[in-house]
Symmetry: C2
Subunit: 349 residues, 2 copies
């Protein structure tokens, strides 16, 4: 029996309880300061209000005030935080990390350095943890299409564990695989994690089309798939271009991390909800009010990548012409631009 400490009791972190519990591991689910209600609900009624589901019996719930107790003796730490919690995670959990305890993260995002270079979260985490731990921790991450609700329902799910060390990845794979949770491994964390981060951005882009249809008024058709498919194709195209810049394998677009994860995110809830609102012509300032309290990873990733672009372009690392969709989304979010898809600038050759 192996002991897992999951830090972050949101949707995705908590959903990991199912494969772990089904494999008879000891699971300690630790809330962040934002998860107090969830932890209380689990302790009192064994019920996860976000997943709307009873948590497996053998999962122990911990408040963030019990962090050290929960992590003590854990064989694996699962990072279940959103990208907004990365600093907190590095500073609060970092001091408890040990070289022999691998970390496996569900967090998606990219950070940028002052020179514009983008870095994936496993590397960002390593740069943020305290000095004694820095460079000694094996950070790994999960990519691929996985809606938390469906994993908790034990729906067939296929994901990619990525990190630099194949032995660690195979160890984690063997611990977490179940008949419904299928795991592939990849030693290209830059490729997998770049896709994982970007799919949140581009799912919003694909959502724009559904919103635009509402706006266009009735024309005898109930749907608008041609434009949506173009946005999906352009998203894959821009992902490929950014992978080239980042040094990740472009083949990632054509399996689980890229097209697979983008597909699921297009159907997966809040990101697309935002895209649809914007497509309908609702300004972002208003949409943000309507979605108050919802974690908008998409806005964060679009903002970070687009703000790094001028520096990357200056240094000759990217051509801005390769990213008309991402840049248009930035203008919608930050310059109050109307949605006006630049079709003719897509697929720049």
């Amino acid at each position: 029996m192996t002991t897992f400490a999951i830090v972050g009791a949101g949707m995705m972190g908590s959903a990991m309880c199912w494969p772990l519990s089904d494999n008879h591991h000891k699971v300690r689910l630790v809330g962040t300061p934002l998860d107090e209600e969830i932890i209380t609900s689990i302790r009192q009624e064994r019920y996860h209000p976000g997943l709307e589901r009873t948590i497996p019996d053998d999962v122990e719930a911990f408040s963030f005030t019990q962090l050290s107790e929960a992590i003590q003796g854990a064989d694996v730490i699962i990072g279940g935080i959103s990208s907004f919690g990365v600093e907190w995670f590095a500073q609060t959990v970092g001091p408890f990390m040990l070289p022999e305890v691998p970390v496996l993260s569900v967090t998606k995002g990219l950070e940028s350095k002052p020179d514009g270079d983008l870095i994936i979260l496993p590397d960002a985490l390593d740069s943020k943890i305290p000095a004694p731990q820095k460079g000694t921790i094996r950070f790994n991450a999960i990519g691929g299409p996985c809606i938390a609700h469906e994993l908790a329902a034990r729906r067939q799910t296929c994901v990619v564990f990525t990190g630099k060390n194949l032995t660690t990845l195979e160890y984690l794979k063997q611990l977490l695989s179940t008949p419904y949770y299928h795991i592939w491994t990849s030693t290209d964390p830059i490729g997998v994690e770049t896709c994982a981060a970007l799919k949140n951005a581009y799912a919003m882009g694909v959502g724009l089309a559904a919103g635009m249809m509402d706006n266009a008024g009735p024309d005898g058709l109930a749907n608008m798939y041609n434009p949506q498919a173009v946005l999906f194709g352009q998203s894959c195209y821009e992902m490929r271009k950014l992978l080239e810049v980042m040094g990740g394998g472009i083949d990632n677009v054509t399996w689980l991390p890229g097209a697979g994860d983008l597909f699921v995110t297009v159907f997966g809830g809040r990101t697309v909800r935002l895209g649809m609102m914007l497509g309908r012509g609702i300004p972002f300032s208003r949409a943000r009010e309507i979605l108050a309290g919802v974690t908008l990873e998409s806005v964060e990733i679009i903002t970070r990548v687009c703000r790094a672009m001028p520096k990357l372009a200056e240094r000759g690392k990217i051509r801005k012409e390769d990213f008309p969709l991402l840049l248009h989304m930035y203008d919608i979010l930050h310059n109050d631009n109307k949605v006006q898809i630049p079709w003719e600038r897509f697929f720049y050759q």
Copy 2:
């Protein structure tokens, strides 16, 4: 003003009337022997029963008995037939083809040679036309996500014109581009056309998941996107592998011809309807009865490619392990196998 003869008055061929008419070209829409009802309806009421829409005023409708008259003096021939009409098209229209009149086809499919080698339809057409024309005709084709209904509604649509001669492609692009019909060109017809054919096969594969959900019974969730996304990812993966075999550019997967067209086809009607029935456990023999009269390009392409595979594998050109989804679909169609997705055999490395 340029004169276009569209041969084949089905959905896609007929939908081409809109951009052509909006660009003030002369359009002659010629039915095949299967299109007599459509042509009669257009002549009597200007109404296309498949598209459920009035045909633009300046389109002239012709019966197949008037083929020679309709093609006489045309500057461009558009092939609007399904893959089942390729022989008819080559033998009946072929004798009227001229080197100075380019052909542009909407047909999707692959054919196989006795040694297992797969060939794209523009090449198949060239091999089937009469001797005087053979080798002299510029065959071009259209790939990318385009539901005919939406094109006829002037929805934003982006497609790829492909052929061997860039000048011809640019000429066609200039004639057909409208503010809603956006055209890219590609001199990689093998890449574009392989994707165009395969998306019909794989859309059926993605449809299996939706059908399986119905079968699994209620578990508190209204959808099943994790498995569907895996099938989408595996479809992209197998497309890439087949492109490598065919010698087409694998970058086609990451824009309009691959991921884009697959996305639209997953929502586009009959192919997915078949996949869902099979996913629900309805045997193919019964599904075929229910869908009597519906053109099933998906069945045709799965059958052709899978029947070529043993020969290609024997010659060392493919690894069958790269195509578990396609081969499973073949077994469902031809060996009455139950749907049992081979998750663990996906993404073979």
